[in-house]
C-alpha cells in the first residue's frame, strides 16, 4: 500500500470519525466507584490550596456538609460525625469536609464561620474545603448533605454514597445504623475490596450555585 493512499485513507477516516463523534453527545456523569476519583484543587478555610494529588498514598474522605441541614444536624448533634472523624484521623485518613452552598443559600459560610463551627461542634476534619461555586460538587456529582466519598491510597474512588443505612433525620434512627463509611474503611484496611462501593445518599439537597 502506498504511503500517500494510506495517509489519505487515514485522513478520510479521521474526518468521518470527527463528524460522527461530534454528533453523539455524552452526558457527564457523577464520579463512579472503581474509577479514578476526579482530582481537585480547592481553597480551604486557611486559604491553602488543597489538591487531591497531594494526598497520594493516603485514604481521603470527602464529607459534603451543610450545618443547617436536619440530616447533618442529626449526625453532629449526636456527636456521631465527630467520633467518626476522630476515629478516621487515628487511622491516618485525611478527612475533608466540603461546603458547596453558594452565598445566600443555606449552609453557606465564610472561612471564619466554618472554623467556628468546627470549634463549637468539636469536629475533627483535617480541613474544610470552600466550594461556593459548587464546582467540586459537580465534579463528584454530590447530591445530598451528608454525601460521603472515600478515595483510596491509589486515588481510586472506593466508596460513594450514604453515611449509614438509615435514611432519616430523626436521632432515634442512629441506634443500630450500619455505617457504610466504617465498613468501607475497614475493608480497605484489610486489603479487601469494598463490598458495598455505591449506595444511595440521603439528606438535604446540595444547594448548587448556578453554572456561571
Amino acid at each position: 500500500m502506498t504511503d500517500v493512499t494510506r495517509k489519505l485513507f487515514i485522513t478520510g477516516l479521521a474526518a468521518i470519525a470527527l463528524g460522527l463523534g461530534s454528533s453523539v453527545a455524552f452526558a457527564q456523569s457523577a464520579a463512579k466507584p472503581g474509577a479514578k476519583a476526579p482530582d481537585f484543587s480547592v481553597v480551604d478555610v486557611d486559604g491553602k490550596l488543597q489538591k487531591l494529588s497531594d494526598y497520594a498514598g493516603k485514604t481521603v474522605i470527602l464529607e459534603w456538609t451543610n450545618h443547617d441541614c436536619p440530616y447533618v444536624r442529626k449526625h453532629y448533634n449526636s456527636a456521631t460525625m465527630q467520633t467518626l472523624q476522630k476515629d478516621m484521623a487515628k487511622d491516618g485518613i485525611v478527612w475533608l469536609s466540603v461546603i458547596s452552598s453558594p452565598a445566600g443559600e443555606q449552609g453557606h459560610v465564610d472561612a471564619a464561620k466554618a472554623k467556628e463551627l468546627t470549634r463549637t461542634r468539636d469536629a475533627a476534619p483535617a480541613s474544610i474545603l470552600l466550594d461556593p461555586k459548587s464546582q467540586l460538587a459537580r465534579a463528584y456529582g454530590a447530591q445530598t448533605t451528608p454525601h460521603m466519598y472515600i478515595i483510596d491510597a491509589k486515588g481510586t474512588l472506593a466508596y460513594a454514597g450514604a453515611i449509614d443505612d438509615k435514611p432519616s433525620s430523626s436521632a432515634s434512627s442512629l441506634t443500630g445504623a450500619k455505617s457504610y463509611v466504617r465498613q468501607a474503611v475497614a475493608e480497605l484496611k484489610a486489603g479487601k475490596a469494598v463490598s458495598e462501593p455505591a449506595t444511595k445518599a440521603y439528606g438535604c439537597v446540595v444547594k448548587y450555585a448556578p453554572v456561571s
Binding site: M1, I10, A27, V42, E105, Q135, S168, T199, K200, C204
Partner: protein, 719 residues
C-alpha cells in the same frame, strides 16, 4: 314498673341503638371525619376519613392530607436525588389493619442540577383501613397515626404530626359524602395499571433500556419514575426511541428483585396519563448486584461494557463502514475500473449500465450474505478468514493475478472473466456479479473502524438483526458503484475513453502488488518462513498455470486439454503443499525490539496491576490494517514510548493474527468482534480499564496513560 321488669342488658342495648340513631342523624361536625389539623408555616396536614361511621368487616379509605405553602414540596415514595418520603406509623385497635400509602403520581421538581420527586400545593395520600368482622357496633374505632414528612423549598424541614380519628362502629357504615368525594378524586387520579409488563435491560455499561410494549403510539413527554432509588440517575434525560426509554444507570445501581415498579407518565392527545408500571428485570442486571460478595478480584470487574449502540445506529455505522471500504487501496482499483467500464458501455446503452450496477449489487450482497452467515453460524470474529494461512495465501495469489492482469501481462478469458476482463465490464452479467463478489473478497482484510463497533454489536444480536447489520454494510459498500450506474451524468464527467485508461489501469496494478506483499508478510507472521515459501510458491504456480493456458489458447484441442490438465495438476499439488506447510506457528508473534511489548494474558494484567503498574494492552493482528496504521502513527512513536517509560506503564500485546480463544473472549467482553482494541488499566488492583478509540493519536495514548498513572492534574475548576 315495666322498666324495672326489663332485664338491664336489654335496656342498655336499646339505649345504645337510640344513641346510634341519633348519631346518624346528627350534623357532620359532631363526627370526626377529619382530624384536627397539624400546622406549620409550610404545611397544614390532617387525617381524613371517607366514613362517618364504619361497619364491621368493611374496608374504607382514609387519607393523610398535606396542604403545602407555595414553593414547598413533600416527597414521593422515591424522593429522587435527595429528600425523604412521607411515612405513616399507625396505632390501631386489635384486628384493624392499615394498608400501604397509595402513592399519587409524583411531579419531577427540578433543583438544578438535581431533581426531586414529590408533591406541591396539595396532596392526599390514601390508605385503606380494614375493620374486622367481629368489631362491635356501638363501640368506637380509634385510628391513631403518627406521620413524619420532610418538606423542602431549597432548605428542608422535617415535620411530624399525630392524628387521631374516632369513628363509631355501626351495623351499617355512614359515608361522609364530602370526604368520600375528595378521597375518590385522589384515588381516581392514581396511576392506572399499565396492562402490560415493561422490560428493563442493560444498555451498555451505564445505561438501561426500558422497553414499553404497550405505550400508545401517540404518546409524548414520556417519563419513568422508579420506586427503587438505586435504579437510575433521576435527573438524566430519558430519550424515547423505538418504544423504549433510555435511562442512565444509577452510580449506586442495585436491583434485588426480578421485577421492579414505577410510574410512567406521558401525554396522549393533550391529556396527561399516568400508569403504574411493572418491569421485568434482565437477569444479568440482578447478578450485577449478587456478585460483589466474595473474591475481591471479581468485585471490581467491569460490567459488560458492550458498545452502546442501538440497532438503527449500528445500521448507520455499518453503512458508513461499507462506504469507507471503497477507499481501501486493494478495492479502489477494482471499483474504479468497473466505473470506467460503465463509461464505455454507457455510450451504447444506459439500460445495460443500470443492469450491471444491479448485478454488481447482487454480487456484493450475496458474498456478504455468505460471509456473514459463516461469521454468525461459527460465532467467529470478523477477520477470522485471515486467521487461516492458506486463505491468506489464496488472497495473496488473487491480488497478484489481478495485478498482472491490470498491467496487461495476460488476459483471462472464458469462465474466469469476472476476475479479468469483467473488470472492464465487457464480461456481461456473470462478470458484473463476479466483480461484486471479488470486491468483497479483496475488501475483507480491511476492517474499517466503524465496522468494528457495528460488527461487535451485530454479533451480540439475534441472527436476524446481525444479518441486517452485515447487509447494511454490504449496501454501503455497493452504494458508490450502484449510484454511478444510475447517474450517467456522473459518468460524463470522466474524460473520453482512450489511452489514459490503459495507463491508469496499469498504475492500479501496483496497489494490488503492495497488498499481495502485505498478505505474504501476514502469512510469514502466521506460519514463519514456511509460510512465506508457501505463499511465493503458490503465486508462482498460479502464474505458471495461467500462462500455460494462455499460451496454448490458439492451439489444437488436444494440446489445450493437456495444458489444462497440467495446470490443474500443478494447482492441486501447490494447494496441498500450501495447506501442508502453512500451519500457524505456536510461537508468539510479538516482534522483538528494544522496547518489545510483553505478551498479554489476563493473569499478567492482574499481576501488573497488583504491583501498582498501569497497563496498556494492544489487541492487534498482522492482517488488521487499522491496527498497523495505529502502530505507525501512534504506538511506535518516540513520544509514546517515552511517556510509557516515564509513567511506568507496562505495554502488553495481544496478538490475534492466529486464532486465540482467550483474546476472542476478551474482545467479546468489550463488545468487539475484532481488533483493534486498546485498553488502559490503572495501576490498582482490579481497577477498570479505559477503552481507547479505534483510531489512535499519540496524544490520546499519552493522556490515557497519564490518567491511568494518576498523573493528570485536573482541577475541579477546570471542569
Amino acid at each position: 314498673m315495666i322498666a324495672t321488669s326489663l332485664p338491664r342488658r336489654t335496656a342498655f342495648r336499646l339505649l345504645q341503638r337510640a344513641t346510634m340513631a341519633l348519631a346518624l342523624l346528627a350534623p357532620a361536625p359532631l363526627l370526626a371525619a377529619e382530624s384536627a389539623p397539624v400546622t406549620s408555616a409550610r404545611v397544614t396536614a390532617t387525617l381524613l376519613s371517607s366514613r362517618d361511621a364504619v361497619a364491621p368487616g368493611e374496608r374504607f379509605q382514609v387519607a393523610l392530607t398535606q396542604k403545602l405553602a407555595p414553593g414547598w414540596h413533600s416527597y414521593w415514595q422515591n424522593p429522587g436525588d435527595s429528600g425523604e418520603a412521607t411515612k405513616i406509623d399507625w396505632t390501631l385497635p386489635e384486628g384493624v389493619s392499615a394498608g400501604a400509602i397509595q402513592w399519587p403520581t409524583p411531579k419531577a421538581i427540578r433543583v438544578e442540577p438535581l431533581v426531586n420527586f414529590g408533591f406541591e400545593d396539595h396532596v392526599l395520600l390514601p390508605v385503606e383501613i380494614s375493620v374486622p368482622a367481629n368489631a362491635k357496633p356501638g363501640e368506637t374505632l380509634t385510628l391513631s397515626a403518627k406521620a413524619t414528612w420532610l418538606v423542602c423549598e431549597k432548605i428542608c424541614i422535617p415535620e411530624e404530626g399525630a392524628f387521631t380519628l374516632d369513628l363509631p362502629i355501626a351495623a351499617t357504615g355512614a359515608i361522609d359524602a364530602a370526604a368520600q368525594a375528595r378521597i375518590d378524586d385522589a384515588i381516581a387520579a392514581l396511576p392506572k395499571p399499565a396492562g402490560f409488563t415493561a422490560k428493563l435491560t442493560a444498555k451498555g455499561e451505564d445505561k438501561l433500556a426500558l422497553t414499553l410494549s404497550g405505550l400508545p403510539a401517540g404518546a409524548s413527554d414520556v417519563r419513568f419514575f422508579p420506586v427503587l432509588d438505586t435504579l437510575i440517575e433521576h435527573a438524566a434525560e430519558q430519550p424515547l426511541a423505538n418504544g423504549a426509554l433510555t435511562l442512565a444507570r444509577s452510580t449506586a445501581f442495585k436491583v434485588g428483585t426480578p421485577t421492579t415498579e414505577g410510574v410512567l407518565i406521558f401525554a396522549e392527545g393533550g391529556a396527561k396519563r399516568a400508569l403504574a408500571l411493572s418491569a421485568e428485570v434482565e437477569p444479568a442486571l440482578l447478578q450485577a448486584v449478587a456478585a460483589p460478595e466474595q473474591a475481591p478480584a471479581k468485585v471490581t470487574l467491569p460490567p459488560p461494557p458492550a458498545e452502546d449502540l442501538t440497532l438503527l445506529l449500528a445500521l448507520v455505522f455499518a453503512f458508513a463502514g461499507g462506504l469507507i471500504l471503497n477507499l481501501m487501496p486493494c478495492v479502489l482499483p477494482v471499483l474504479f475500473i468497473k466505473a470506467l467500464g460503465f463509461a464505455q458501455v454507457a455510450q451504447a446503452s444506459r439500460g445495460e449500465v443500470r443492469r450491471q450496477g444491479l448485478l454488481f449489487l447482487a454480487g456484493v450482497l450475496a458474498t456478504f450474505f455468505v460471509l456473514a452467515s459463516l461469521v454468525i453460524a461459527l460465532g467467529a470474529g470478523w477477520g477470522f478468514q485471515l486467521q487461516s494461512p492458506p486463505l491468506v495465501i489464496l488472497l495473496a495469489v488473487l491480488m497478484t493475478l489481478i495485478g498482472f492482469n491490470l498491467i496487461g501481462a495476460f488476459e483471462i478469458g472464458g469462465r474466469l472473466q469476472g476476475v479479468g476482463d469483467g473488470l472492464a465490464s465487457r464480461g456481461g452479467p456473470v462478470g458484473a456479479f463476479m466483480t461484486g463478489a471479488l470486491a468483497v473478497v479483496v475488501a475483507t482484510p480491511c476492517t474499517a473502524p466503524f465496522m468494528g463497533a457495528a460488527m461487535g454489536y451485530a454479533l451480540t444480536q439475534p441472527p436476524a438483526a446481525a444479518l441486517s447489520i452485515f447487509m447494511a454494510l454490504a449496501l454501503g459498500f455497493a452504494a458508490p458503484v450502484v449510484a454511478l450506474s444510475f447517474a450517467p451524468g456522473l459518468l460524463r464527467l470522466l474524460p473520453k475513453p482512450g489511452r489514459w485508461m490503459i495507463i491508469l489501469k496499469q498504475a492500479f496494478a501496483f496497489p494490488m502488488f503492495a497488498t499481495a506483499i502485505w498478505l505474504v508478510w501476514v502469512a510469514t507472521m502466521q506460519a514463519g518462513a514456511d509460510g512465506a515459501l508457501a505463499a511465493l510458491v503458490a503465486i508462482l504456480v498460479a502464474g505458471f498455470a495461467l500462462w500455460l493456458i494462455g499460451v496454448t489458447r490458439g492451439s489444437g484441442r488436444g494440446l489445450r486439454a493437456v495444458a489444462a490438465a497440467a495446470a490443474l495438476l500443478l494447482v492441486g499439488a501447490a494447494s496441498a503443499f500450501v495447506i501442508e506447510s502453512a500451519t500457524p506457528s505456536a510461537r508468539p508473534t510479538a516482534q522483538a525490539g528494544t522496547d518489545a511489548p510483553g505478551v498479554w494474558s489476563p493473569a499478567r494484567v492482574a499481576e501488573l496491576q497488583a504491583q501498582g503498574k498501569p497497563v496498556f494492552v494492544n489487541f492487534t493482528a498482522a492482517w488488521c490494517i487499522t491496527c498497523l496504521a495505529n502502530d505507525r502513527v501512534a504506538l511506535s512513536r518516540q513520544e509514546v514510548k517515552d511517556a510509557f517509560a516515564k509513567l511506568g506503564v507496562a505495554y502488553l500485546k495481544a496478538d490475534w493474527t492466529n486464532r486465540n480463544a482467550e483474546i476472542a473472549a476478551t474482545l467479546a467482553e468489550y463488545g468487539r468482534a475484532g481488533v483493534p482494541l486498546y485498553l488502559v488499566y490503572p495501576g490498582s488492583k482490579g481497577a477498570q480499564a479505559e477503552v481507547l478509540p479505534q483510531l489512535l493519536t499519540p496524544e490520546t495514548v499519552v493522556s490515557a496513560a497519564q490518567r491511568a498513572a494518576g498523573k493528570e492534574v485536573k482541577t475541579a475548576t477546570a471542569r
